[in-house]
Amino acid sequence: MLRATTKVVSMFVIFSLLMFDFTVPAAKARMIDTETAIAVMRHQDDRARIAAFLERQDVQQAMIRYGVDPDEAKDRVASLTDSEVRQLAQAMDKLPAGGDGVGAVLFALLLVFFVLLFTDIMGYTDVFPFVHKGSGRK
């Protein structure tokens, strides 16, 4: 009796599954929604801006002075998640562009931020809550 019921139910389930046309809803799903589009664009722009910042001659020199290997810095930024990159880019936005005397001070502050970010990632310090502690060097 139970077996017969199971059989009927199974047949019904299999039949219903066969009736579904999976291709139609899937075709709709191929459109990428606006939210995703904006998020991806923002992350790409943030990463590009941070990369451009790290490429700057004065930034590279300053990093060397502080004992941070510029290539290592780039690797570390590349390993940040999108939300971490967003926070970093926003922190950069808050500081005016350098160049003059005031700019130099701000630049030093920003550099401290970067250095702490790196040491945070490496597990030497714990300043930024958004940095997930890894096992140190990759």
Partner: protein, 318 residues
């Protein structure tokens, strides 16, 4: 949120408030914001055509939203909004409920904060829903009212609040109550009206919210309006294409995606969506070319692009 006489409440509790304010000022937690009007604003404004609905008990959220919607051209009674924005267990409405409620009626919900923005919007004749705390931080009595104007010489804000229309409150008292919500305000606008100090990011978020609420026609209008201000906004063009696609306007969607692709030529995403729109238009060869263009450009969504291409090719081969 009991409908009542604010001034009456304040008379009774005045000395108490003063004591608390002194205490808080010592801690530096009260920061007064100057009520400064933008230049060349009229000295007195009362926004016309804001209907007044007296609130029933605890129902200030639905009442405030109905007033703001009514001004924006959507006539709806607070009672009709209650199931959408009122949570009986909280005896009130959350800010997110009001935002969602406005969107479900095809209106832009645009949060603002601070007196500068509030006065700028009022000066431009737009009402603003404000969240105030009529109690204390340790005994909160949250309340939504609708700011409908100001009187600069008298130093007053004019509100539709509770059971009282056109209530005038001095800037000082109003700011005391309002600052406890972080000076939170909400504009409810037709999708073709931009706020005075509009930010592209915030307007886009509001338009995306309309898409999410399934209000594609309003979303399309919101994106078109955004393009008048930011003609090269990539996100806006993608949103325009997506909302047109949802409405079945495939040719218009394709046009928007092409414009987006021209703005960010290295981005595969517009090509992916373009491919789908073209395919549904029956332009299979062009669709395959667009899908291939998306895959070539790659990026974080490359897998999706590959799926689009594979599916279009499979269906075209049938």
């Amino acid at each position: 949120m009991i409908p009542g006489d604010w001034a009456g409440n304040l008379r009774v509790t005045g000395p108490f408030v003063f004591a608390i304010l002194l205490f808080l000022a010592g801690c530096g937690t009260i920061s007064r914001q100057a009520m400064t009007l933008p230049e060349s604003s009229p000295p007195q404004v009362t926004v016309a055509d804001v209907p007044f609905y007296p609130q029933e008990e605890y129902q200030c959220g639905p009442a405030a939203l109905a007033m703001a919607l009514g001004w924006s051209g959507v006539t709806v009674k607070p009672a009709e909004l209650t199931p959408e924005v009122y949570a009986p267990e909280r005896e009130g409405s959350l800010q997110a409920d009001l935002i969602g409620g406005a969107r479900r009626h095809g209106r832009i919900a645009y949060p603002i904060s601070g007196s500068e923005q509030l006065l700028a919007e009022l000066a431009a004749h737009r009402p603003v829903i404000v969240l105030v705390n009529r109690g204390f931080f340790w005994y909160p009595e949250w309340h939504y009212a609708v700011a409908i104007g100001y009187d600069q010489p008298a130093g007053e804000i004019i509100l539709h609040s509770g059971v009282t229309p056109h209530r005038a409150l001095s800037y000082r008292v109003f700011d005391n109550l309002w600052q406890r919500s972080g000076r939170w305000g909400l504009l409810v606008l037709p999708p073709d009206v931009l706020p005075v100090n509009v930010k592209e990011e915030d307007w886009l978020a509001a338009a995306v919210g309309l898409e999410r609420a399934g209000q594609y026609e309003a979303a399309e209008t919101a994106y078109k309006t955004a393009l008048t201000r930011w003609p090269k906004s990539f996100g806006t063009l993608i949103g325009l294409g997506n909302s047109r696609y949802q409405r079945g306007e495939l040719a218009g969607a394709a046009e928007a995606f092409r414009r987006a692709a021209a703005i960010r030529p290295a981005d595969g995403l517009p090509y992916n969506n373009l491919a789908q729109a073209l395919f549904e238009l029956g332009r299979e060869d062009e669709a395959i070319a667009a899908a291939k263009a998306a895959v070539e450009r790659g990026g974080p969504l490359k897998k999706e692009f590959e799926q689009t291409l594979a599916e279009i090719e499979a269906k075209a081969a049938r």
